[in-house]
């Protein structure tokens, strides 16, 4: 691509700010997982009404055509 640096550089170790960014993503992902686990635990056993279930509008039982 234009303006691209074609010079060769030595492999650099992961710098501290980079580790912080990766760690930041890890923390956010972990927080999401923990939040979802808590909600799931709280709502376990609760049955959702049929109207809120996603899916095609098909009757529960379709009788074979005569």
């Amino acid at each position: 691509m234009p303006g691209m640096d074609h010079s060769h550089q030595a492999a650099a170790p992961v710098s501290r700010p980079r580790a912080q960014v990766v760690g930041g993503f890890g923390v956010v992902d972990a927080a999401v997982l923990v939040g979802a686990a808590l909600i799931r635990r709280r709502t376990r056993g609760r049955r959702r009404p049929v109207s809120s279930r996603s899916g095609p509008a098909v009757p529960d039982r379709i009788r074979p055509e005569c």
Partner: protein, 471 residues
């Protein structure tokens, strides 16, 4: 010629009935070995494992490997091998990539561990495709401004962002909601997948007497539901089918058929055209054009001429302006063609825009493939070189090309010609299906043929100019 209204007119009294032809081609599930593979509990899991392993290696290399794109095997695997080959997979197998995509696997694992399984919000169902359109534009723009492709770290951060989105979606929403409604690559897959040579459909005659309560959609005790929320019984598009074969396993009546079809055949029978999908097709065309332009040696000269003329010296500001123009021009041209066509048929500008935008998809795919082919064939050895360096070998010198410039150009023009032919044929089929009179069909198709020729000519001209490498 008076300017037609932007609102759709009343239905055309001359319109032909919407009768899609019966499916053609032999059912691939009639081949026992293939049927056994697709019905196996190991499919597609066994394919997901190696893909996820390579993805893990790529992610690690991008985040912790060499800073230079040329020496980073993650960048080479991602942008020189995977990205150029991906549209080819769409043409051959439709959205099959989504069946083995590591992000889908992450979503499934998160869902099993902590999934709350909330229904997909209505706004996502309605406007998800617009979010995908916006994401696609934003990612392409930021690639140029922040250099995602040529920066391993930038590519790594993009993967981290996507992973966070997938984790959140898998944790809170049902099935693969992210893949269906939010993934920009999924949107691209969906659009290009319509040109795919494989289609999965249900035999509706068998479905009419089914008593299995939509097991193909809801899944069974042992088979997971359709991850992309598609109901085979009413499915008329491959845009949201990843060939994961869950429905094949769940259907108790063996009503699912997988057939080969001519590439782009699905586009000839679009029944429910959507403006946002046509917009995405044209936006992708604009993105391919601007990608070509910025890789030309001419681009630097253009930047300095523009700076002399206007005093604006910031290349990012100039690129942003060029990007907006590049995306707006194909969309504007399709609007213009639709405006002309709407004077000769009763469908209105937006109605024509939505319907005939699909005719541009084959040209889109061809231009994208031709652009990517340049990178694959002129830089393909970079991946081999970076991989050997990763394993402790020497990077090796010499050319990074897998084919000569002449060969690459011939292949590019061949692809473009195929795209033009398929797009023109699709426009013709759409008009023939929609309108009864010959005069109306011809008048409707004419502006779209002009548009196809114009876009093909621009692409052909850009391919003739010397282009910079990605790595």
């Amino acid at each position: 010629m008076a300017a037609p209204d932007l609102v759709d007119a009343a239905p055309d009294p001359d319109a032909l009935p919407d009768d899609s032809p019966p499916p053609a081609g032999r059912d691939l599930l009639a081949y026992r070995p293939l049927a056994a593979v697709l019905r196996s509990r190991w499919y597609p899991g066994l394919l997901q494992v190696p893909v996820a392993a390579v993805f893990g290696l790529v992610a690690f290399e991008l985040l912790a490997g060499p800073d230079t794109a040329q020496r980073n095997s993650g960048t080479a695997l991602m942008w020189v091998i995977w990205w150029p080959v991906l549209p080819l997979v769409f043409v051959l197998l439709g959205r099959f990539w989504c069946a083995v995509c590591p992000f889908g696997v992450i979503s499934d694992v998160v869902q099993r561990l902590v999934g709350v399984q909330r229904p997909v919000p209505r706004f996502l169902k309605r406007y998800g495709i617009w979010i995908i359109d916006a994401q696609f534009l934003a990612i392409t723009w930021s690639d140029h401004v922040w250099g995602i492709v040529e920066s391993p770290w930038g590519s790594g951060v993009l993967l981290l962002l996507l992973t966070t989105g997938v984790v959140a979606s898998g944790a809170f929403l049902q099935r693969r909601a992210f893949c269906r409604y939010l993934c920009f690559l999924g949107g691209l897959c969906g659009n290009y997948g319509r040109t795919g040579a494989v289609e999965l459909r249900a035999d509706t005659r068998i479905c009419a007497s089914c008593t299995a309560r939509a097991a193909c959609y809801h899944g069974t005790a042992t088979v997971r539901p359709c991850p992309l929320f598609s109901f085979p019984r009413t499915m008329d598009s491959s845009a949201h089918c990843s060939l994961c074969a869950n429905c094949v396993k769940a259907c108790p009546n063996d009503a699912i058929r997988i057939r080969l079809r001519p590439p782009s055949r699905e586009l000839w029978f679009v029944d429910r055209p959507r403006v946002e999908e046509s917009f995405l097709a044209m936006a992708i065309m604009g993105i391919v054009l601007i990608q070509n332009v910025t890789m030309l040696s001419l681009w630097t000269a253009l930047l300095s001429s523009f700076a002399d003329l206007t005093g604006i010296r910031d290349p990012q500001v100039v690129f942003t302006g060029a990007f907006v123009v590049a995306v707006a021009v194909p969309v504007g041209l399709l609007l213009w063609a639709s405006w002309v066509a709407s004077a000769w048929n009763p469908d209105g500008v937006l109605g024509n825009f939505a319907r005939f935008g699909y005719a541009l998809i084959p040209l889109d795919v061809a231009a994208h493939l031709a652009h990517n082919l340049f990178h694959l064939l002129s830089e393909g050895r970079t991946a081999i070189s970076a991989r050997s360096e990763l394993l402790g070998g020497s990077p090796g010198g010499g050319s990074m090309a897998l084919a000569g410039p002449g060969t690459i150009r011939v292949l590019q023009y061949g692809l473009l010609a195929l795209g033009v032919a398929l797009s023109a044929y699709t426009a013709r089929r759409l008009a023939h299906r929609r309108y009864r009179t010959v005069a109306r069909r011809r008048a409707t198709v004419a502006p779209y043929l002009v548009l196809i020729a114009l876009l093909a000519a621009v692409n052909a001209y850009l391919f003739a100019l010397p282009m910079a490498h990605r790595m």
